[in-house]
Symmetry: C2
Subunit: 345 residues, 2 copies
DNA sequence: TTGTAAGCGTTATCAA
DNA sequence: TTGATAACGCTTACAA
């Protein structure tokens, strides 16, 4: 036996050994209901003995389609997307579909390139993040010969299916929570200014403005990647530039955690001197001391539902509603508890 | 135009339009140095005009190989692996190779299944995590007709190439740091008991035992997925069962952060009443208050170097040394500072 | 430098 | 239920 380059075992090897035609083996694999039970059994025996595994490339070429689900997210290292991916993989792993994932790095051009590449492989479906694709990307996707789910955001004009929540409404609710808790000198910390972050910022501004509480000097942003460190930095900046700030909305929980640490470092007590509200309700937020108020979003569920909708649609089962709003929930915790009342986690 | 199922544009469409043979187009794509500059230019014009994209399945089938790099990690949601993946993708995105990633969920059987699937696609290379594969997986990998890099750990008998660090030595160094800082009633918190975690635990036990400081009652573990929450839970357990503990080594920084929060919640001051040492030196560790002592590991670098070694090897450039030890560094911070000296971040 | 022919491993299609 | 044949889009090998 030439171990180095053992000859590939093909479907016709199996056919020969089983004493049937090549097509019968092919059918036994993909449409077993069209092959007699006895033949199938015979074939499976040979397949096991020979260790045959179908060649997916040949299959894709001949069939003109694949079982690949292309997933596009703007970042891997961002925990939010890692959780969505986990949901997606959880469902995919129980199916016959294979997830293929790519990272657009928050670049619309990169996204366009990747969409082209994916579509060229005739995927069974695609999951793409957000609704802010370039015009060209959108055009390609609308014409695409596969089912598509947009995740992470909501909009009026889905390519096909969509599942997410309103970043505007969620940030608005968080801002209202601060206002209703009696805070009035509101700050905002934001980083990585992608479209969804911008929506949250806009919601904060609109809501604060409506309440007559908008102070642009208390809005500290950075285009850099969001992180705990940036949270600390931005919070430091805020505390120096606008020390009268009595509550700060952080556009995500990493920033909020960094802000909390920075306040502790400076001896600024939370929430007595400044309240902190995060966004996303990551695991650590409930556990921080003080526990961080945040806006809960359903990231893993978004992944599982997106994948479920997609697989159902591929198998011909149309979703009742192609657009799913997963909603959000403001989770009040100690970091925005006013002095006069008790708080809960 | 039938927009729904527009005819696929193939290499021969391009050839016809450009007035050359199909093979010339094929060469212009994969071996441009063997085609005249003028012809290439002509072909590229047509490719752009037609929007031609090569079909990777046909290519793989005909060539008997792909430009796919298979990457196997045990978890996506674990930040440590997310950072390694980021490094891998950073290098891959600048190359002609395509990363295809799969999640073994810490299951050796799952890993075996996935290795089989990947190898069947004739990948150009593979990156696999750790050195604790099943015997069968190891056998398959050793016979594989592609280059392989093992990451995340170190061992004597690499399949091919290897890059990681010694979990045993790293945890030993952390334990010694605690001992040398004057702590003597040492606790350990561990979760997700995979092979690398086990090595760290063993190092802690051996080192504590050697110093005559091993107290099994202070070792609190959980088979559950590691998380900040588990860190809080385990710390709570430790504080109740062994309130005399004066320092605790946490097998990763998530546990350490959870432990820190739990101490704060209980009014146990860190490091005065109990010192905390983490592992991995995640971003938040330097920023926590008090800043967390941790063992720095080079996760993103591991990803980039693994990918670089792999691509070089695929292109025929053998690495000077097939086994790379990335090392580690104990980063002393406030959480293990003894009362008598000042601390730094 | 360019072209011709054969074939990669599978599925679609039609026929038996 | 099973089989023969022609694709699928590309590359290898060889020839010109």
């Amino acid at each position: 036996m030439d171990l180095g380059k053992r000859k590939t075992i093909t479907i016709s090897d199996v056919a020969r050994e089983a004493g049937v035609s090549l097509m019968t083996v092919s059918r036994a694999l993909s449409q077993p209901e069209r092959v007699s039970a006895k033949t199938i059994e015979k074939i499976n025996l040979v397949i096991d003995r020979l260790g045959f595994v179908p060649n997916p490339n040949a299959r894709a070429l001949a069939a003109g389609r694949t079982n690949v689900i292309g997933v596009l997210v703007p970042s891997i290292s961002n925990n939010v997307f890692a959780e969505v991916l986990r949901g997606i993989y959880d469902v995919a792993d129980g199916s016959n579909f294979q997830v293929q994932f790519a990272n657009t790095r928050y670049s619309p051009d990169e996204e366009e390139r990747i969409v082209r590449t994916f579509l060229n492989q005739k995927p069974a479906g695609m999951i793409v993040s957000g609704i802010n694709q370039t015009g060209r990307t959108a055009a390609i996707l609308r014409e695409a010969n596969c089912r598509i789910v947009q995740i992470m955001d909501l909009g009026d004009d889905p390519f096909d299916m969509m599942i997410g929540f309103s970043h505007y409404e969620a940030a608005k609710a968080a801002t209202l929570h601060l206002i209703e808790s009696g805070f009035s000198r509101l700050g905002l910390l934001a980083a990585r200014l992608d479209p969804r972050t911008e929506k949250r910022i806009a919601a904060f501004k609109d809501t604060a403005r409506s309440a007559g509480l908008l102070d642009e000097a208390k809005i500290i942003t950075s285009p850099r990647t969001t992180s705990v460190r940036i949270g600390s930095m931005l919070a430091g900046e805020l505390l120096e530039k606008a020390p009268d700030t009595d509550a700060v909305l952080c556009i995500n929980d990493d920033l909020a955690l960094g802000a909390l640490f920075e306040c502790q470092r400076r001896g600024v007590s939370v929430p007595e001197q400044i309240a902190i509200c995060g966004f996303n309700d990551m695991e650590f937020s409930a556990l921080a001391h003080p526990a961080l108020t945040s806006v809960r979003t359903y990231r893993e569920k978004m992944g599982t539902m997106a994948m479920q909708m997609l697989l159902s649609a591929i198998e011909g089962q149309e979703p009742e509603n192609p657009v799913v709003d997963l909603g959000f929930e403001v989770i009040e915790r100690e970091s925005t508890g006013s002095a006069r009342r008790s708080s809960s986690a």
